[in-house]
Amino acid sequence: MSVTTDSAPPPVQNPRARRPTRRAPGPLGFIWSSTVMAWRWITRMRTALYLLGIIALQTALATAIPQEPNVPTTVAAWRAGEEGPGVIASQVIDAIGGFDVYGSAAFLALLLLLYLSLTACMVPRVRAWIRLVRHSQPPLVRHLTGQPEQAHLVTDRQPAQVHAQAQQLLQGRRWRLRPHEPDDAATHPVADGGLATRPTPAQVAAEKGLWSREGGSLLFHLSFYVLLIAIVLGQLLTFEGQRGVIEGEPGFHDTAISYWSYNPGRWFSEDDHHGWRLDLDAFEVDWVRDPLAPGAGQPTVFRSEVTVTPRDGEPEAAVIDSNRPLMIDGRRVTQLDWGYAPRVVVEVDGQVVHDGFIQAVVNQRGGFFESAVKSPAADPDIGHRAWFYPFAPPDEDGNPIPTGAPWDDAPLLVLEQWRGDLQLGASQQTVNQLDTEGMESEGPLALRVGQTVEHEGVTVSFPEVRRWVGFQVASRPQLNWLVFGAGLLVAGLIPALYAYRRRLWVVASHDHATGRTLVTVAGRAFQRPEAFEEELRDIAEELADATGGELLPADGIPTTDDPASDDAPRPTPDGDDATTDRRDPDDDDDDLVISDRRSDVLPTPVRSGSSPTR
């Protein structure tokens, strides 16, 4: 028999088998390998962290920069350079989509990447979890000495009885069990080397928290898909309309044309309106009026009394409060806004050119309400800029003193008259603003309720003041799904953080020296080991009580186990430890592994190299 040495020629087949198939990658190969690299990059946990970081940065940007969908006027002021950092900075912000971060392409692309990364992480994890739930069972042990937590007790019961008792006990504590009673034939297998392997002892193997922790984490992450779908579908199916209504004046119908601001989703059709009618009977608002009382000036009530008339039905009275919106046929009606509505009558040469309520909107800085009166029926056009001071009591001389108070105990209407071209239809303007481009001012006039004033050939009267309320009508069919998604999120989050993974074994064996039964309860905690210490001691004590045995002190442990056994729990061939012992990435193991520096001194389960990264 010749001995093969290093100098011997290699077997003939070797070179052919080893020859590298190295060809220049064609364009397809290049694309393929790039795709594989990109996929690998996107499935990394670190990438997900970076993506989250970038989204956080964008969100920070959105906190610092006014957002167009929220405060369009402020954004307009920034763009015009009236506020904020200036025109050039605003142009830079515009270029990167900073005024509408959540509608910008960059945000959507990032969201797409994040969901892609999430999906890439979820697919293998869900598969591994299903495999875990369907096939895994608690692994059996041969040696207990390696387990970090141990308790020992002696009893006079038979080992089989102790095992049955332990099963019952652990079942009550909701552990997953795997009893193991080897039959005699399997007890002494003889390996081919002639050495007897140590048999797997009779035992009760149990584990807890393995499904629920990972399952909770999966549920938490999967809930984001529910939320995403609900939000996307919501964008398509939703509808939101706004409309102002004056007390006692005709209200509006739920039809597409009657809303002043109308934002339907793409899939919301005009036929989906129900056609009911809403009228405002009264709007109640009040404040803390005593200037010395605590919280002076704060509002105390906002309440609308309305009448709702279904398309074919009887009118019904209802109340809309600030925290109690009204539901009409699945539409939610909320109060968004309110203001005073002075009635202004304008007459020129005995001809009424304007008679109606104007809706005065509160000034941004508070204190007074602003609006405009437009009388295009006059020739030339007459316009009035209007300032409404709700509380302007007269001083000793009878001159009104405007205060900032919002209650209408001494209302004063100040008008500035303009004459010329209102440019209705020619320029973009709102109902509440006068475009004075083509007009000339004719000076101010002030009116109390019930007064009539003649000014520059125009008779203006102010017969009464009412209030108006801006209602929002919204249909959001996605809400239930959002609540469902949020529920899933929380339901997954709690076990993902608070289900601790533990393994435990109860091994009872006959001690020939004393004739009694020696029971070892041993276990391992993957999270919060210091809490497990107590739990294991509890279980051992209960088992001792149930079997009429006594707990041995921690230092007087008889060593019946093989002293040479190694530290790791040795899985038996039939225990599929390869799948169950894989450490999942959400694992915090706060006290087992703290940082790389210290991990070598503490017992840690082996990480599988192919485990998913999140």
């Binding site: 969100t59 906190t63 105390t300 953080l497 001194v601």
Partner: protein, 392 residues
């Protein structure tokens, strides 16, 4: 008693009573911490000091609760309506949860002093935004608000406790690394086993009663090790960094004052107080528990706060749908809550990622707390949105 007398009473209960009790308790506890390595009689004195500290803390919590109740009676509503009330309750939750958690669940009572110190700092911050009791806007007068705000305020208190643990962890870790470095470098630059050398010393230095209290040699060695640990944290660097990190939040006060001198005074007060607290904590570095314990504490508290923050934010969205007619509108405060949520989610994920654990994760956690405080202040002072209640 009428409302104004009740208001006066609540103010006195808050300051000086509660603030002083918290501070006294913090310093008593911290003194007790230094005696754990002393001789027997010192340890006995330390034990007595701990009892006194506990009594002071419980009295302080009692007066704090009394303050909240009296304030609630004075204004006839739950004291959760403005920035002062929110910050004050945040301190109360942080202190109570921190003490109960350390005492009964973690059994690490030596950290009580730092929790009380943190509570005093938050109380002091609340005094910067003190407001007299008053009624509530009707839109806020609903159980939704109670639910939403209490959860978020509770989460803020818990995040504050987590922030303290993370800061202490970083200090202790820096000190241990420096000591390990110094021991190994003369031997040839290898760091293998460095941590173990330190670990062995730590046991002798911090476990009370493990060494015979009267063994002069051992005590001298332990004292030397303590000094080395303390020297491992560079003072100037710590002060500058604390100033910079605090400044990244506290500029808001200066800004809110239009960059005036009063605002500058506030800015400097907050920053220098934090620097003083950091230097105080540095002095106590040798008496801290192990880095593993501190890191675990930080992680568990963040996890708890994160659940509360999540539920509180969802509750806020539900309330917004009821009250404002939309569940999410990217209002500055909503954006801030979302940003904070992402930051703490980033911390929890970092803990699960290999290579980002330990120090890096702790820094992410510190950053998350900065985000929390910054969005809290910015959304109230700088950008006026639907949630601004600084003026109330």
């Amino acid at each position: 008693m009428d409302a104004s007398q009740l208001a006066d009473l609540s103010r006195v209960l808050y300051f000086p009573t509660t603030v002083m009790l918290y501070l006294a308790s913090a310093f008593t506890y911290l003194y007790a911490l230094t005696t754990t390595v002393g001789r027997r009689d010192e340890q006995r004195r330390g034990h007595r000091a701990r009892l006194i500290g506990g009594a002071l803390a419980i009295t302080g919590i009692g007066t704090h609760v009394a303050h909240e109740i009296v304030r609630g009676l004075a204004q006839n509503r739950l004291p959760l309506g403005n920035m002062f009330e929110v910050t004050s309750l945040m301190a109360l939750v942080g202190v109570v949860v921190g003490l109960v958690y350390l005492q009964f669940i973690r059994k690490q009572p030596e950290l009580h002093g730092f929790v009380m110190l943190g509570g005093s700092l938050v109380l002091g911050m609340a005094m910067l935004v003190y407001a007299d009791p008053g009624p509530l806007m009707p839109i806020l007068d609903t159980w939704w608000r109670t639910f939403h705000v209490s959860l978020l305020v509770g989460a803020m208190g818990i995040f504050t406790a987590a922030f303290i643990f993370m800061g202490l962890y970083l200090l202790r870790d820096t000190a241990e690394l420096a000591v390990a470095d110094a021991r190994v470098r003369p031997g040839g630059g290898s760091t293998v086993g460095a941590a173990h050398v330190g670990d062995l010393e730590v046991d002798g230095a911090t476990t009370p009663g493990s060494a015979d209290g009267d063994d002069e040699l051992e005590r001298a060695q332990a004292a030397e090790y303590r000094a080395a640990l303390r020297a491992g944290v560079p003072t100037v660097k710590l002060a500058v960094w604390t100033f910079v990190v605090t400044g990244s939040v506290s500029w808001v006060w200066w800004f809110a004052d239009g960059w005036g001198t009063a605002g500058l005074g506030r800015f400097l007060t907050v920053n220098l107080t934090m620097v003083a607290a950091a230097l105080l904590a540095r002095w106590f570095v040798p008496y801290l528990p192990s880095t593993a314990t501190l890191d675990g504490l930080a992680h568990r508290t963040v996890a708890f706060g994160f659940v509360m923050w999540t539920v509180g934010t969802i509750a806020g969205a539900m309330w917004a749908e009821v009250s404002w007619g939309r569940f999410w509108g990217w209002d500055p405060k909503e954006t801030g809550a979302f940003l904070t949520w992402i930051a703490y989610a980033g911390y929890l994920h970092a803990r699960a990622t290999r290579g980002v654990q330990g120090r890096k994760a702790a820094w992410i956690g510190i950053g998350a707390f900065v985000v929390l405080m910054a969005t809290y202040l910015i959304a109230n002072y700088v950008i006026v949105g639907l949630h601004s209640y600084a003026e109330l």
